[in-house]
């Protein structure tokens, strides 16, 4: 028994030693400098990661570590000091007034249908009736005879809160057929079901529509769902993407937040299909 353990140890030990040596060789290249830790919203995480990489390039010796885990986690970690900066894809709530939000981008939310669905516009009232289960077939809205599949977001997601607030609904009123978590799951669900209706980030939906995913965006209250209209503030449904700090930021965190809000990262914001700040 001992022999076998020793053997297992030896071989895996050697493997790990080699890995460790290799890793430490790579490690020596980056000087031990300052580290900024960001945690929170999975929506913002890819953008923050890219901003972090550019920030690292401009500030040698600084490291930006981005961890995802949800907006609530971002708020809690920023408050508890586990993270230097939190990320939240929503505005701060009244009970979070001890924290400061720093907007870095905007995200519009639009209604999408399957491309095969001939319905081209829905009024707010119709959308409300679909989501509360009063209208259950597209025929009732001038479409084909097809059951409506209502795609809703899971409890706690900021897009859901935004949607409910805009349509003056409570989540318990909604008769959903599919409840989803992340944005791409919404797009894929609607793309795979000709009778589905859902709401997702406009930038991503524009991209997917342009790249052949069988969905189409609906205008809302007569305003076409485009990134340009979100930036102008004409589109009714949008949310801020925020960095969160405990009190006024200082030092490296302050520099990072200012950098993330500057025009120097507009191309990164656009590359993640969000809407840059209007300046």
């Amino acid at each position: 028994m001992k022999n076998i353990e020793v053997l297992f140890y030896r071989s895996s030990f050697r493997f790990v030693m080699i890995a460790l040596i290799a890793a430490s060789l790579i490690g020596t290249a980056s000087a031990a400098g300052q580290k900024i830790v960001l945690t929170g919203s999975s929506t913002i995480a890819p953008l923050a990661l890219e901003i972090g990489k550019r920030f690292e390039k401009l500030n040698p010796g600084v490291r930006v570590d981005v961890q995802s885990g949800g907006s609530t986690r971002g708020v809690n970690d920023a408050r508890a000091g586990l993270a230097d900066i939190g990320m939240a894809s929503r505005a701060l709530k009244p009970e979070e007034s001890d924290l400061m939000a720093h907007r870095i981008a905007i995200d519009g939310i639009g209604i999408i249908l399957h491309r095969k669905n001939p319905v081209q516009a829905l009024s707010d009232e119709q959308i409300k009736e679909i989501y509360t289960g009063k209208i259950t077939n597209w025929q009732q809205l001038g479409g084909e005879d097809r059951k409506i599949t209502v795609v809703n977001k899971a409890e706690g997601r900021s897009t859901l809160e935004l949607f409910l607030h805009h349509f003056q609904l409570r989540n318990s009123d909604i008769h959903a057929h599919v409840v989803i978590g992340d944005n791409q799951q919404g797009i894929k669900t609607v793309a795979g079901n000709a009778g589905a209706i859902g709401y997702v980030s406009i930038g991503t939906a524009e991209y997917e529509e342009a790249h052949g995913t069988p969905i189409h965006l609906l205008p809302m209250a007569g305003v076409p769902a485009t990134v340009a209209n979100v930036r102008d503030g004409r589109f009714p449904l949008s949310r801020p993407l925020n960095l969160i700090s405990k009190g006024a930021p200082s030092g490296m965190a302050k520099r990072f937040i200012e950098f993330a809000q500057s025009a120097a990262v507009d191309d990164l914001v656009t590359a993640q299909y969000f809407v840059p700040l209007a300046r």
Binding site: G70, A154, R157, V179, G181, K188, N193
Partner: protein, 291 residues
């Protein structure tokens, strides 16, 4: 062999050391696992304390914002998904193990095992992605919304099949060749050998495998989350969207605070309770089979 010769005087000492070493390792593992339990109990204590657990089985449903934490619908959904997946995966998995041991041409044994190992190693998110983009639209064409109990069962069956197949194969391989040769010498047909000798002899291993598969099915999160539809309701048909306990935890944990968070931790305690009961039942079954 690598081991040296043992003389009589070192016998007992080596054994005692080994017993102590393995014993303390086992204890360390038990402590580690105890810590997981402690975390769960500590985090769910706010809703468990003071008889709050009754809230999990009463009330109108799962409305965490309104303080309603009825888990029953999700409990039934979880059990239905796992039972359905086992119903498909166990026969198929045991069959393919039997195939490997008794029917397969030699050249096919290794490729088949590789396939099983690969199936076991595909990340659940990839199964989920595949399910969401291929399986769900197929089911939706048949009966919308597609994201349903049926899709969840099919994906889960695919995911636990390798566990059943590999453990059954290992169990069948452990049946002494002499037993099989004896049966063959008695003139039993291949079917007689498989059903009469090999499978009964391997039943404990197969049961262990099925149990592991059941646990995997009960605990699986990402793939089910993507294909099951996640609507909190007691399933009335195979085409109803359902939400299982694990998907509920994954969907809401990052956004939960206070009692809601505690209720989510408590729902994973409930899952563990189910698994414990399963393990106990399987243990009893195994004990009976031994007699």
């Amino acid at each position: 062999m690598i081991s040296s010769q043992h003389n009589i005087s070192s016998l007992s000492r080596a054994d005692a050391t080994l017993a102590r070493v393995t014993g303390s390792i086992a204890l360390a593992v038990a402590v580690l696992l105890g810590l997981v339990l402690m975390l769960l109990v500590k985090e769910s204590w706010p809703v468990l304390a003071g008889g709050g657990w009754t809230r999990f089985f009463a009330g109108e449903g799962w409305f965490p914002a309104g303080g309603q934490f009825n888990l029953l619908a999700m409990l039934w959904a979880t059990l239905a998904c796992s039972a359905g997946a086992l119903f498909i995966a166990v026969p198929l998995g045991v069959s393919s193990a039997v195939f490997s041991r008794f029917y397969s041409p030699n050249w096919l044994v290794m490729p088949l095992r590789r396939i099983m190992v690969l199936l076991a190693g595909i990340p659940s998110v990839v199964y989920g992605l595949w399910g969401l983009t291929v399986l769900v639209p197929l089911v939706a064409r048949w009966e919308p919304p597609g994201a349903s109990l049926l899709s969840a069962i099919l994906i889960l069956a695919l995911m636990i099949l390798p566990t059943v197949a590999l453990t059954s194969e290992a169990a069948l391989a452990a049946v002494p060749a002499s037993n099989l040769q004896g049966a063959a010498a008695l003139g039993l047909s291949r079917k007689g050998i498989v059903l009469g000798v090999a499978l009964p002899a391997a039943r404990i291993g197969i049961l262990t495998g099925a149990l592991l598969a059941a646990m995997r099915a009960l605990g699986e999160t990402m793939a089910v989350l993507m294909v099951a539809g996640n609507v909190v309701q007691t399933p009335a048909s195979l085409f109803d969207p359902v939400r299982v306990l694990t998907a509920n935890i994954a969907l809401e944990m990052p956004y939960a605070t206070g009692d809601h968070r505690a209720a989510l931790f408590a729902s994973s305690l409930l899952l563990m309770l189910i698994v414990t009961m399963l393990a106990w039942l399987a243990g009893r079954g195994g004990a009976h089979a031994n007699v």
